[in-house]
Symmetry: C3
Subunit: 463 residues, 3 copies
């Protein structure tokens, strides 16, 4: 991407953050519907509905939750907390309550963070019927322990709808499909999780504009119950899915990271892991590798024994790894739209690997190819090879990010020599990239070029 | 074990040390018989006899050796060495000798340790007929080089019996059997090897009092020739043996250690290795891992190509690793009965792993289990789960060491989530413990609980 | 080898260096023929010829190149460069040229090394028809930019012959064959590559004098085109070749090294790698391990998919790793004949491993062997075992380098015990040497001895 493209995308992401942030979302309800519609302005995807009460495996789709307003007053009538000020103030999925209570009765319904006294925590009570407020510990400490308080929680919990969206893009008949899943259920929290849906929709739009070899499944759901419901409704159709990613926490200022799939945890990293880790490694970016963990996002559902879909996730400030996580401090000041665009670029490089990785076999296995007679060897060392660049352009192989200058540097010869040496169908391009240190794109370009010259052929598209 | 139980066991171990230490043992002879009878007061095991001259594979059971007394006087009639003072003074298996000799003739029959001048070495001459004395280098240096000496070695070497013992405990029809082997052939030496038989008999008694899933074979023999003879007599019956341990050097003050099996040396640690190493690791005890070595104890025989029984050993002051080894300094002052009881506890934790290790399969593989509706998820974070504890108690699953408090801590939820995620019959509990860092007992308890709730089933008892 | 033998070999190597160094070699031509004949004075090998124009896979054998003389004069008639002074001055494979040119026309035909201003570079133009001179950057800087220059390059490029040699030695009907390949195409350059052919011919002579279990194929060719041609002519006959070595850069003063085979690069080191690396490790010599690289020597051809012959190379000052590489500074002052003899000794130790490596099976698998009754166990600790030495001598097993003292040290017992323990046909001697740290020769001698005593048998000769 050019700096101009990135700048323009960052502005678009910033606008989406500002429009979506104030909406009160939850597992269900009007906030989710409103958010999905805003995202559908960026790229088309389908919307689906599941009624409350539907059994999805071990779970039941809950009643729909609608927040009108939640307020707390002291006995002088001063308004202390108001969900219109910050929707984190109300315990998510709080039942309605209206009454005057003493502090002792109120206290168990108040949630604070003593170690982060200025932050309002994000708390939910999806499956235990309870009411409550979340507030900063400073506010909490100022409350009169002898006072009485007016509570008015205007919420509604009634049969309704669980909303979600999905979209298939890429090659419809492709034998291989990859999953990009995100969740949309957090209220006014920016990095976790508003950054996920914004990256998700930008990536969806980017792929919708391309001719692709694989099929890509984009899923946007409320976390956990949504993934369970999605698998209950669509699990039978996921047979082609080779792996995927959960888009979550992708715009924070902290370190980049990759959380590995369960397959990697069990000692056998798969294509989604290798594509992500090679991308981070070849860009020489500081990053952390996190092993699969039973705590996390919807990879937990996709990874279960019945599905065993290997799912990883690239992060900028991963959940659990920053103090502001799940508090009012994870707000629009915390996230960086430019960072989200960097992550979009990373995911596009990952997609390039999913698209272009393959094993090859040599059509000239007996001797080194005489590259010179094909114009593939520099007449004098160090110069660019125009015939090579031309041949490549002719065949329209250069669909991805890497610019021509980078591809045509000195490692071109090395890339060709390594490919001709290793091309017996055993090592795929990602393995060769990892072992030789040559950039994946350079190898893939060299492979395309050698194929054009009849020296190499695809042995197997990689799964 | 409670502190009271440990204290009481330590006293019992101390008494056994004091009763057994003075007895002069060897490969054969009355000292072995007397020692076996004292051990049989603690726990029942069978006694067996093999006559001298019996061919056992490449070896022949030697004549029985009986020591009456061995003494050395100077020419003034002063008694210099007396086996009644310390039975290490006589070369073990010394032939009888009676006569007066000059220093030059005596000298080749004297064994000392110049680098440890106050210690009497332990020396044997089982298969080369010789007589001799062992003495401290200080005593040796004080001998008059011009003097003459009266030697009186009253020993008897004649056809007799090689004595050994064994016992099977646990489930008679179990498909899997584990071996606990120790040796009883050293005279007055405390850590190597009196500690071995004492731990062996306490462990035998502990297991005799339990309902067990596996069968356990307890063997007590003189070292090397006894193991060869045992394999010659019982090798045909060892088909169910999956592995085992040699109990040796388990009461010293030095560092804990585990000597791995030959299987681990060849790159594939087996259950006995994994159970021992996980136990040491999860207790976070400082310890050393020793690779299998061709020098050692009876694991050498059990590991030979015809048997390939993987045998390891846990140690407190391993042989070869302390200066006092095989000298008069390895005495009752060197060993610590409390240490032996710690090792008993370690071995019981190892046995817990041999008993409880298994792979599981999920009965709810499609979605995360809704733990809350089963009372398995805390209503408020951090509290203990009484229903879980009750369910467990009802099913009588808690047979082992770990106390209830430890089992029911916060990692219970994690243990359940990991088990439900990984339960496809591939990783056993030990592998999950190692990969996740969750204590084995907590995992095994959680597995039992999930089985009670119909969420999990045993896929395979582990061998 | 004794110091006298090594001294004598070093003198012979020195003489060969001095005779061969001045000759102007190239891919083809009289210099190659003259060099081959000098080498044939040391050991017999066959000579072969391939005519120019022959198609060998993707390549065509080029015209033969003959240098008469190449000279450059300034306009005062002073002789500036003369190939009779140093044959590096002429661009190797330069076309003939005769004329007077200005500096601007001359300049693109001059090759220098600005970073090594006193050195004449070695440059070739085999497949692009060009003329040129190589000179030190100091000479180049002194040239008058306004002057005119007389160029007289007296070369001939015409249909002729590509010469090469080969020889089979060892057991004609052996199922396993190993390759020793070197190249002979560099002009006056000492370490790369004159050291290669000299070591090659000395090793050939050493093996010709021995009774061997394997067959050894010795090949001497011009680099790249020669290897391609050799494979085109003889590839069908290489089915028994298990691996081999390229002899190159073996007399420099720099660090020892081993460049691994492609098999090792792909994660599965084979016998040629293991033999070389174990040799370096057990001599405790400082050395570097270089992974296989697509740049190098003729291992590139042998390793291609059609052949996949695993080829490594031991080095003293490996190509690319010393500043003098491919310059006039890689001369007779740079190389050390004694170093070449050290490398000969290393390669002979490698050959010992190729010859003697095997897996064994125990003929006494049930119990430790009673070594004492066979005279294999020391009566008193530490003494040499004369019966063992005698038995070994009787059977004529000691064919290689290691002297009797070294073989018969204390590790003999350990070697025997380990062999009897591990002898189930799984680990070969090299693996046992690596795992136990016992020298390969000691293990092989112990195995021979145990075979003599009927305790061990060969399970499989190793490939």
């Amino acid at each position: 991407m050019s700096p101009q493209q990135k700048e323009s995308l960052a502005q678009e992401a910033g606008t989406l953050f500002r429009r979506l942030f104030p909406i009160c979302r939850s597992l269900t309800g009007p906030g989710v519907r409103q958010s999905l519609e805003i995202l559908r302005e960026v790229a088309f995807f389908h919307r689906h509905e599941i009624p409350s009460g539907t059994q999805v495996f071990d779970w039941i789709v809950p009643d729909e939750w609608r927040l009108k307003r939640a307020r707390l007053w002291d006995d002088q009538g001063a308004l202390l907390l108001d969900s219109d000020q910050n929707n984190l103030h109300v315990l998510n999925y709080s039942i309605p309550f209206d009454g005057v209570v003493g502090f002792a009765e109120l206290d168990p319904h108040l949630h604070t963070l003593p170690h982060l006294p200025q932050a309002i925590p994000y708390r939910t009570s999806y499956y235990t019927r309870d009411w409550g407020f979340c507030l900063s510990h400073r506010q909490y400490e100022a409350l009169d322990r002898a006072g009485r308080y007016r509570v008015q929680i205007e919420t509604e919990l009634a049969p309704g709808i669980l909303d979600y969206g999905d979209c298939l893009t890429g090659a419809e008949e492709a034998p291989r499909e990859y999953l990009f899943s995100t969740y949309i259920c957090h209220p006014s929290l920016a990095n976790d999780n508003l950054s996920g849906p914004i990256l998700w929709v930008l990536l969806l739009r980017a792929l919708q504009g391309r001719r692709l070899k694989n099929r890509y499944r984009f899923v946007i759901i409320p976390e956990t119950i949504g993934a369970v419901a999605y698998l209950a409704c669509h699990g039978h159709a996921l047979g082609r899915v080779q792996g995927g990613y959960v888009l979550s926490c992708v715009a924070g200022p902290g370190i980049l990271g990759y959380k590995q799939s369960l397959a990697a945890f069990r000692g056998a990293p798969v294509l989604v892991d290798r594509a992500a880790m090679t991308t981070l490694a070849e860009l020489d970016l500081a990053h952390r590798i996190y092993p699969f963990d039973i705590h996390g996002s919807d990879e937990r559902q996709y990874s279960l024994p019945a599905w065993r879909i290997p799912v990883g996730s690239l992060h900028a400030s991963k959940y659990y790894e920053y103090d502001e996580y799940h508090t009012s401090l994870d707000n629009l000041d915390f996230v960086r739209p430019e960072r989200l665009v960097d992550m979009l670029e990373l995911y596009l490089m990952v997609v390039e690997k999913l698209e272009r990785n393959a094993t090859y076999r040599s059509l000239l296995p007996q001797s080194e190819a005489m590259l010179g007679k094909r114009g593939l060897y520099p007449a004098t060392g160090g110069s660019l090879m125009q015939p090579a660049a031309a041949a490549l352009a002719d065949h329209g192989q250069r669909r991805f990010l890497v610019d021509a200058e980078k591809t045509l540097h000195g490692s071109r010869i090395d890339a060709m020599l390594w490919l001709m040496m290793l091309a017996d169908g055993q090592m795929d391009l990602l393995a060769i990239a990892q072992q030789t240190g040559i950039a994946f794109s350079a190898l893939a370009d060299a492979a395309d070029l050698l194929c054009c010259h009849g020296l190499l052929a695809v042995a197997q598209e990689e799964s």
